[in-house]
Amino acid sequence: MSDLETFQSDVNDRLAAEALIVDVDGFEGPLDLLLTLSRTQKVDLRQISVLALARQYLAFIEQARDLRLELAADYLVMAAWLAFLKSRLLLPPDPTEDGPSGEELAAHLAFQLERLSAMREAAAKLMARDQLARDFFARGITEDVTRTRRVTYTATLLDLMQGYARIRTKDEFRPFVMDREKVFTMEEALSRLRGLIGFAGEWTDILSYLPEGWEMDPVKRRSATASTFAATLELAKEGKIELRQGDVFAPIQIRKKDR
């Protein structure tokens, strides 16, 4: 119970601290956030001060970052870009430098915001229209005169595409049993090693014990390496071999243990 209380007060502190900060998850990306911020300037989007907007955004990100370290990459990329834009807008243009001017970049950003805002309004207008089966209706009794009975077959584009996808991705589908083709089991590795260690009088790299045909394909190689390694541990436990490794990540070597 007291845990819960502590938790509760933590949450309350956090909520208080974030009182002015809208949860970043509530936004659909940096452009959405910028659009919301721009509304506080209460001017036509065409007259918006991109510099002021950049400052607001950076301040927002700074603050949000203090509180939530997991702030998304998109937002940080936008923050970096806006910081760059801010400096371009503040510093006198360098005539030797190529590339778009700060004003051009700012104008483009303003355009993007205006366009997004316009699309939002358009979407709202669209949804506010009278809609079929809600405000107006189609014919309820469709004709059922059955005179000529002709059978036609139908399929949707979706059927077609999914059918195609099904065929083309067939090779990717590996049911469990098939998948084992690329798995070298520890039992297999053990029986293979048992047959071979008789020859391991000298220290030899365990990788030289990988079964033939398993060295090239990365998936097979990984599986065979792992099972072979596990098998050597098992054999070492049984006292049949010795293992050594010179250094971290150095080759692991084995040698037959003479009794």
């Binding site: 998109d74 036609t152 077959y153 059918g163 195609y164 996808a165 991705t169 589908f173 049911p175």
Partner: protein
């Protein structure tokens, strides 16, 4: 619309009923949109208080006299029906549609994506032999037709899709068919890791041809 004189004798009611012209419109709309014949009582229940659907029906019936549609009584209910003498126009309405079989869909898809394609090639891609009936059916549907013969030994016949096919599937051209990658990104095909590119396919092998879901590496700002 309110050209009709309002109903003469309106029952004493708290609210004034709409003018008869309006009531006629209402009855018309209800009969048009409802899937079954509608009784007077039901009309009354659906219309504003004080309406007289029976009277509106009289006007409506007169209005539709001699038209392509007429107001008919079905038992004790009313419905709008196309005029009996125009039944011959309805032939196209009586088509029974069935879903295309999976074999046919797959064959059709291969023709669309690989045209011109020979029968042997279709079989190679599908990994099963293609029955004669399947291609015949597609040809009969006029979705597939013969293309030119391939200039290879045996000069096999090829298959291509038709304009009817494009029309049916709402395509501008066969080239506009989305590729696998696009299918995937449009969400029409569950994305799954490509073998050899890291993640190993999940080993819960559920069936062999259903797409395995890849637990979705949800993008942070995924919309819902």
């Amino acid at each position: 619309m309110s050209d009709k004189p309002a109903a003469v004798e309106q029952e004493e009611s708290l609210f004034e009923a709409p003018p008869m012209g309006e009531q006629e419109r209402m009855v018309e709309a209800i009969l048009f949109a409802t899937a079954d014949p509608v009784t007077v009582a039901e009309l009354e229940g659906r219309m504003p208080h004080g309406c007289d659907p029976a009277e509106a029906l009289v006007y409506l019936r007169k209005r539709y006299e001699g038209r392509g549609v007429s107001l008919v009584k079905v038992g004790d209910a009313w419905a709008l029906r196309t005029a009996p003498d125009l039944g011959f126009l309805m032939q196209k309405e009586t088509v029974e549609t069935r879903k295309l079989s999976r074999a046919a869909v797959e064959t059709l898809a291969i023709v669309a994506y690989h045209q011109p394609v020979t029968r042997a090639e279709i079989e190679e891609i599908r990994g099963v032999s293609v029955s004669r009936g399947t291609i015949d059916q597609l040809i009969e549907l006029e979705w597939v037709r013969f293309g030119r013969r391939r200039m290879t030994p045996g000069r096999p016949v090829t298959f291509v899709v038709t304009q009817d096919f494009l029309d049916h599937f709402g395509l501008e051209g066969a080239r506009d068919l989305p590729g696998l990658k696009e299918l995937r990104s449009a969400g029409l095909l569950e994305s799954r890791p490509v073998p050899g590119l890291g993640a190993v396919p999940k080993e819960d092998g559920d069936g062999d041809d259903e797409v395995i879901d890849d637990g979705d590496q949800s993008e942070m700002f995924d919309e819902t």
